[in-house]
Each structure stands twice: as C-alpha cells, then as structure tokens.
Amino acid sequence: MRRITRLAPGVGALAVVAAACAPNNHQDSLNPQGPYAQKIDTLFTPVFWIAAAIFFIVEGMLVLFAIRYRHRKGRPQTPPQIHGNSRLEIGWTILPALILVGVAIPTVSTIYDLARTPTGNVLNVNVVGHQWWWEVDYPDQQIVTANELHIPVGEPVYVSLCAAGVGYGGVPAPNECQPGPPKGAPPSAVGDDVIHSFWVPELAGKQDVVPGRTNHLVLQADRPGTYTGQCAEFCGLSHAYMRFKVVAQTREDFDAWVRAQQADAVAPPAGSLAATGMNDFLNGQCIACHAIRGLQVNGQPLTANGGPNLTHLMSRSCFRGCTMPITRANLEAWLRDPQAVEAGSWMQLNPKLSQDQIDALVAFLMTLR
C-alpha cells in the first residue's frame, strides 16, 4: 500500500499530460491556435518534460530509499552515520543551475520575442476593461463594439489595453487609450477603474489591464473560428461573468464586417413599436451611458459614458460580458432588473422601466442590426 499511494503526487503530473488530449473547449492554453500562443507552448512543453523527469527521479529516489532502507525486524538500529558529502553537495548545486541556464536562454528570447511590436500588415485594436464587460475599439476603422473582438486570420493584431476608453466619448486613437474622462466632463457614475486581465489562451498569454497605463499584447489566429477569453484578474462582484470572444474571419469576411459596423444605425419606421422604443431611449435614462452612432439628441451625436455602444447590438451574439445570448427574453430580463441578471451591475434604472417601456425598448434594440 505504501508503494502505491506514495505515487499519488505523480497523478497530478500525469493528469497534466492527459489534459493535452482533452476535448477542445476553446479556452485551452494547451491548444494554441496562432503563432503567439504557439511560441509559449513551444517553450512550455520541453520545460514540462524536464520538470516531469526531475519529478520522477526525486520521487523514485524517495520511494526507493523508503523501501530499501526501511527498518526490518531484528536488524540492529545502527545505520552508518553519514554527515554529508561536499562533492555531492556541489554536484546537486551545479547540475540544477546548468539545467536552469538551459531553460533561461529560450525563456529570455521568448520574452523579447513576444514583447516586439509587430510590423507590416497589423490591425490595431484598443480593448478597454469595464466592470464587467469589454469595450473593443478599432481606431483606424472608427468602430466601437463590445465583448466581441473580430480579427482577420493570419494577421497580427496589436491590442492596446486600457481601463478607460471611448466609453467616455471621444475619438479612438491608435495604440493609445483615452486617459480618462475629458477635462470638464461630469464625473462618471461608473466604477470603471479597476484592474482586469485580458486572456484568450488559445491565441496569446494574458496581459493585465491597469488603470493609468496602456499595456500591449499581440495575438493572431491561424484559422477562422471563435476563441473564447475571460478576464483573469479579480475585478469585483461579477468577475466570473467578464468573458468575451475573438471571432477570427477571412480577410473578405472581416472587411464585410467592418463595413457593416461603420454604417450608422437606421431609425425604425415611424409609428412602429420600435419607434416608440427609440423615443424612450433618446428621452430617457439610456443615453446617460449608452451611445448609438447615427442618432442625435438636440442635434448632437450621442456620446457613451461607461456603457457599451449599442450601434449594431444585434450583430453581436452575446452581452453581459458575453455570458448571455442576445435574445428577446434575455434583453427583457436585463431591462427589468439589471442587478438581478448581473450582481453589482452599474446599470442603475431609476425609476424602473414599465413593461410597456421594456417592450418598446426591446423592439427598438432588436432593430439595431
């Protein structure tokens, strides 16, 4: 029994190997789907096997000694009194040091490799962490969306990460986030400025989103598909719901998506329920935080202040940090009581919306294709 159970710690290591064969859940760091994640995996795999070898050597010696030198009845309890051996000590100081030098060299080269700013055909994206959703700005394309990062396959994407962004209004600038609300703006009612961490395991390692700093991350997908990601730095009540997806498309599909996103919202036909909803939207609480491109109040375009830009809401597949599909029922539930759907949600409805208002607003939102 002793022999078998002593191996128990090994189960952990073996299980890691087994995990490499687990079905793809699209958020698996052991399943790299682009060159940047691949670089990390290429570095980690040999280190893992070196660690596994050391693990089996040390545990093997432990088990071997435990069996071999266990006390046997009748044997005098007078083992040789060995106090040490300087040669061995030097050996097991130098040998691990040499192994670590071997690990350190590719480590350092990969650190610098990943930190390099990509050149050539690069897509610039600003990603802004909010409690608890992701704003995605395309400064060169003048697009603002949420919770979904669309990218063309085979091209590096240079992501600038910030904790306050276009949500405050203003024009997205390449590679640099807005430092905060513009001077003179009313203080935001929204507690945006905490640390998040942007992580799409299959496309890149994670990078923190730190208030007051702009961090950068490069990612790239080799094949079209959807890759899920998640906020990895604890950021408050609904941290677990702060997810997102990366949609990798062929260049043509991506260009088509960009064109669709650049279009203004189309006002619903007058007299429809949706038109009533638009009226409620523009004259109610919504515009305190949300913007829709193409709509105006008093001749002024809407500016967002902490809430997601809703221009092409229905072109997205998810909301609430990409943890709920955008359906009529879900939108209704959200508008009825945001805090019941997302603990601690910053979307304060005061007064609450009536059922008629909810019906009209949902009808309007569902025209935002």
Binding site: Y69, P79, Q81, L100, A204, A232, A240
Partner: protein
C-alpha cells in the same frame, strides 16, 4: 475598561519561585510561560484552520459543478478572500509561531524567551486581530478583494469590507513584528553554554531566518496597508491614477512583502522536516551546513523575486527577464534542501512513524510545488498560468501539501512532549494516508483546470468550458481532506483521555527538548545544559566509531552528570511572573481598529487602553 483597575498585585505579591496556579482561566490569560503561549498560539491557529477549512468546503461546493448556486457572488468573494487571509495570516503563520514559542527555548537550552510579557502581548494581539477581522461578517461584510487586496478595487469598492482587511492586517503585523524581534533576540542571546550557532538544530536556524524575514518584510506591507487605509478613509490618492497615483505601487509593496512571506510560511515546515528525518532515519541530517546556508540563501534571494507575481502587469521585458532569472536562481537552494533530505534517509534505518510519514509526504508533495514554481519562472509560460487554477494548484502544493503536512508532522512529533501523551500511531497513519490522497485529489487536478482555461477567483463557470469533471474531483478531494482533519481531532481528543505517561524521549531523538520530562516543568531545565556538539542529546546516548558506526553509550557511561539528572527540583530558579498588562495592551488595538472604521471616540478609547496597558507594564515591579 474595568480591567485596567485589576492590576496584578495579588500575583506579584506572591513572588513565587515556581509558577503558581497551573490551571484556571486567569492563569492562561496572564501567563508569560513560552510553553503555554505556544499552546495558545497553536489552539487559536487550529481553530482558525477549521474556520478557513469550512470556507474552503463552501467554495468547493459552489464550484463542484458548472453554474453553481450555493454561494452568491458577494458571499463567494468574501469566502475566498477570508479563506486565503485566514490560512496565511491566522493559521500557517501562528501555527509556526506556536512551534517557535514552545520549542525555541527548549531546543536552545533556555528557560523562556527574551521578553516573556512581550511574547504574551504578541499572542493576544494576534488572536484579537483574527477575531477583529472575523467580526466584519457581523458588521456589514467581510473583506472581499482577495488576500492580496489589489488596488484600486480594494480602495474603490463600496462598504467597509476592505477596511477590516487593512486595519486587521496592520494589527496582525504588529503582533508578528514584536514576536519576530523577541524570538530573534532569544535565539541570538539565550542559547545554552556551548551551543554555538552551528550547533543549533536546523529548526532553530530556520526559525531565525523567518524572524529576520518577518522583521524586514512586514514594514513594507505596513506602508502599503496604511496607504490603502488612507486612500479609503482620508481621501488620499496613492493608488488612484486619475490623481497621479499608481495601482502598481500597491502590487510592488504587497509582493515585496508577499514573496518573503511565502518563505515565512514554508521555512518552519522545512525546519520541522529537518528535525524529524534524522530521528527516524537514525542518521544525522545530511549536509547540515548546506541545509542551513541554503535556508539563509532562500531568505536573501526571497527579497529579490517579488515581481514574478506581476509578469502580466506590464512591467516590460527587462523587468520580466530579471525576475524570471532570479526566480530560477531561488530554485537552486530549494533543490539543495530536497537532495539533502534524500541524503538523510539514504542508508538510514527508517521507522515509518506518523511524524516520519508526514515528513516524507512533505518532501514528495513539496517537489510538485517546487517544480511548478520553476514553470512560473519561465515567464512566457506564466503569461498563460498566472491568475489561473494552475497557480492555485502550485501554492497549495507548497502551503498545504507542503507547509501543513510539515506542521502536522510536527504536531505528531512533539505532541508527547507538549501534552505528555502520545497520539495514536495507527490512527495517525490512517490520517496521513487519507490526507495525502485528499490533498492530491484536490490540488493535482487544479493544474489541469488552470491550463485548460479556468481563471482563479471565479464564482462560477459555464458548462461549455468542459471543466466540470475535474472540478468535481477537486471537491471530492477537499472533503477527503476534511475527513482526515476530523480523524486528527478525534485522535487529539482521545489522547487527552489517556494518562500522562509519555516518556521524556519517546522517539529516541537528538535535541535538547527531549532531555526534559514530558510535558516539561515550567522552568524547562533543572540545570541549564552545557552543549558539546550538534545533536548533543544524541551524542550522550550514542557514540560513533571512526568509520561512522553507531555504538550505544551504556547508561550513565557518558560521563555526563546531566543525562541521569532527573531529580532536580527546580528550587531557586527565577521565572518571570504572570502579568495582566500584555493582554490589556493588546485589547486596545481592536478598539482602535473599530474607531478607524466607525467612530473616532472608539479609537481614542482604544488608545487609552493601549497606553494604560503599556504604562502598567512599564512600571510593573519585576519579580525578585
């Protein structure tokens, strides 16, 4: 405070040569005996161990399956924060302090620590700090920003939750700092004649390194905690970027404390293991000096690796390279320790007692935590691993499967010395195996969960991630650990029903604490021993031939009068008198804490109590 008017005249009036009442509530409250204080530390830490364990079980129930509904997000955040806070600050640190307090004087041949009343003060302040932090559950909500309380989340979230964190940890920090100075002075100044630094047991060496780590690292987090407190309470902007502050400052301050803290948590267990292995291998520790120097090296390098907790913060490739390499370097002295432990059992005569099983289990499992630690030093790999369950797996292999196993080994090993009763060996072995299986079921699969994309600190996860199966295994493992802890409690309770019949030296051990009766008399040693060698007690019992063969010394044949000196009465030995003042002074601190959070008059009242306690303390006549 009514108790201010109850000074210790009656106690002081007696000026007894031997301690007076050995039982009763007040004798424990006023004790300055390092052994009783050690037991108080241990009992308190074990109580918090159960509390933190229950929190862990709730966390695991919540995560056992996707879309768990057991805990709301706010309760979940409180529970995971309090679990970490409890296990680190209220369990592993004080449990180590329990062993330090009880054993340091006994192992170095002293009658007490250097400052006995200060020792009592640390103990009570630690207890009050723990209760203060837990009182937050009843006063509007417990800390909920994670045990490393990252700003600005910790400074902008509504509620007093994180004020309890900063004020509570400041109190615990005062207790630990005071205790660190006390114990370091004790080790340096109060060793028995002949006990040179390199005749000290390895446990004492590790204790000394830990006291220095505490003394140098706690001031750093103290600064951070004050800044956090000031940001919240007085509107300063240390961590507010909109006003020129920097959230990353908190991370540097926290981890510059937090990484030495890791060694504060693991070195005591390493010291315990280094004591247990030689006894049950019946061989000296292999490479004593290398084990000592590697411990000191870990202490120094431990201050140069903190930013490996921040590889994803965006410090840039230069900083990440530097801290990646320093982290690899610290693996070397750690490896040296492991190889020396293997060298100790090599060619030994191994007895698989319960303490020995826990010591071997420590090595087997600590290796896993050490190796996964090296993968974090591979910085790009850490970009994937950090803030996931892979990290949770790593530090639980170090702190539970490592430190807690070592501490359990220590409990089984020294239980007969402390309580005069043996723990049941058969039950102990059963407990060890259940705990080992439970620990590996719990923390092994977490490696996979992390690499497969499960971030830490999430209150729930979707079924689509395919993480349900391993999470269920983890939960089953956690409850297996709970079963093993219940078995330990049963074993401990049963031991108290048996007569105090443990011999002075039940394990045929090597160090001075085994020369005195179990439990030791209040004055520890009838006569202060004179030390002639490392493992002095062993050499009184056994001699070595030139070839290193062990030869028992015939009873009384060592020519050492102390080995058969069991009849000393302890008459004429001066022991420090009990005092009310340490506990009074400590009692003022939680009042100050409540004052900072709620009403200023409470802080003033608390300060008055502290000053009254210190005043009475300073002018308390010394016993003659």
């Amino acid at each position: 405070m009514a108790s201010v008017s109850v000074p210790g005249e009656t106690v002081r009036g007696g000026l007894l040569r031997r301690p007076r009442s050995t039982a009763g509530f007040w004798s424990w409250v006023t004790t300055v005996d390092h052994k009783r204080i050690g037991i108080l530390y241990g009992a308190t830490a074990f109580f918090f161990f159960l509390v933190g364990g229950v929190e862990a079980l709730f966390i695991r129930l919540q995560l056992a399956q996707p879309d768990g509904k057991i805990l709301s997000p706010s309760t979940y955040n409180e529970f995971f924060t309090m679990h970490g806070l409890t296990m680190i600050f209220l369990v592993v640190m004080p449990l180590s302090a329990a062993f330090f307090n009880y054993l340091i004087p006994l192992m170095i041949g002293a009658r007490d620590v250097a400052f006995p009343r200060l020792n009592a003060f640390s103990c009570w302040l630690f207890l009050f700090a723990g209760l203060f932090i837990y009182s937050s559950f009843a006063l509007g909500g417990a800390p909920n920003g994670g045990w490393f309380g990252y700003a600005p989340l910790s400074t902008v979230e509504p509620g007093n939750n994180m004020l309890f964190y900063s004020t509570g940890l400041l109190m615990a920090g005062i207790a630990s700092t005071v205790s660190a100075v006390n114990l370091a002075v004790t080790i340096i100044n109060m060793r028995a004649p002949g006990m040179t630094m390199f005749r000290m047991p390895v446990f004492i060496w590790m204790a000394l390194v830990v006291q220095f780590l505490l003394a140098f690292s706690l001031p750093i987090i103290t600064v951070g905690l004050f800044e956090s407190l000031f940001d919240r309470r007085f509107g300063t902007h240390f961590f507010d970027p909109a006003a020129g502050g920097d959230p990353v400052l908190w991370q540097h301050l926290f981890w510059l404390f937090g990484h030495p803290e890791v060694y504060i948590l693991i070195l005591p267990a390493m010291g315990i293991v280094s004591e247990i292995l030689p006894v049950f291998a019946r061989k000296p520790l292999f490479g004593y000096q290398f084990v000592v120097f590697s411990g000191i090296a870990i202490g120094f390098i431990g201050f140069g690796v903190w930013a490996h907790h921040m590889f994803a913060t965006g410090l840039g490739p230069v900083a990440n390279t530097a801290f990646g390499i320093s982290t690899m370097i610290i693996a070397i002295p750690t490896g040296v320790k492991i190889f020396n432990w293997l060298g100790t059992i090599w060619r030994g005569d191994l007895r698989f007692t319960t303490p020995m099983l826990f010591a071997l289990g420590f090595i087997a499992q600590f290796v896993v935590g050490g190796l996964s630690g090296v993968t974090h030093a591979v910085v790009p790999a850490d970009y994937q691993q950090t803030d996931t369950y892979y990290i949770v797996a790593h530090f639980h292999y170090v702190l539970f499967a490592g430190a807690i196993f070592g501490l359990f080994g220590g409990m089984y090993y020294w239980w007969p010395k402390i309580f005069g009763r043996m723990l049941n060996e058969r039950v102990g072995k059963v407990q060890f195996w259940i705990m080992a299986v439970g620990a590996n079921l719990t923390f092994g699969p977490m490696h996979i969960l992390g690499l497969e994309g499960m971030p830490r600190r999430i209150q729930t996860y979707t079924p689509a991630l395919g993480l349900g199966v391993w999470n269920l295994v983890v939960t089953i493992g956690a409850f297996t650990i709970a079963v093993s802890v219940l078995i330990f409690i049963g074993n401990a309770v049963a031991s108290f029903r048996r007569p105090k019949d443990a011999p002075a030296d039940p394990w045929d051990a090597r160090t001075l604490e085994w020369t005195v009766p179990s439990p030791p008399p209040p004055h520890n040693f009838d006569e202060i021993p004179v030390v002639h060698a490392l493992d002095d007690f062993w050499h009184r019992k056994y001699a070595e031939t030139e070839e290193g063969t062990l030869v028992p010394v015939p009873a009384g044949g060592s020519g050492d009068p102390r080995s058969d000196d069991a009849h000393g009465s302890g008459h004429g030995i001066h022991l420090p008198s009990p005092s009310y003042y340490p506990v009074i002074a400590a009692l003022g601190f939680p009042l100050i804490g409540y004052g900072v959070i709620f009403h200023w008059w409470m802080a003033v009242a608390g300060a008055v109590v502290v000053l009254a306690g210190l005043y009475g303390w300073a002018f308390e006549p010394a016993a003659e």
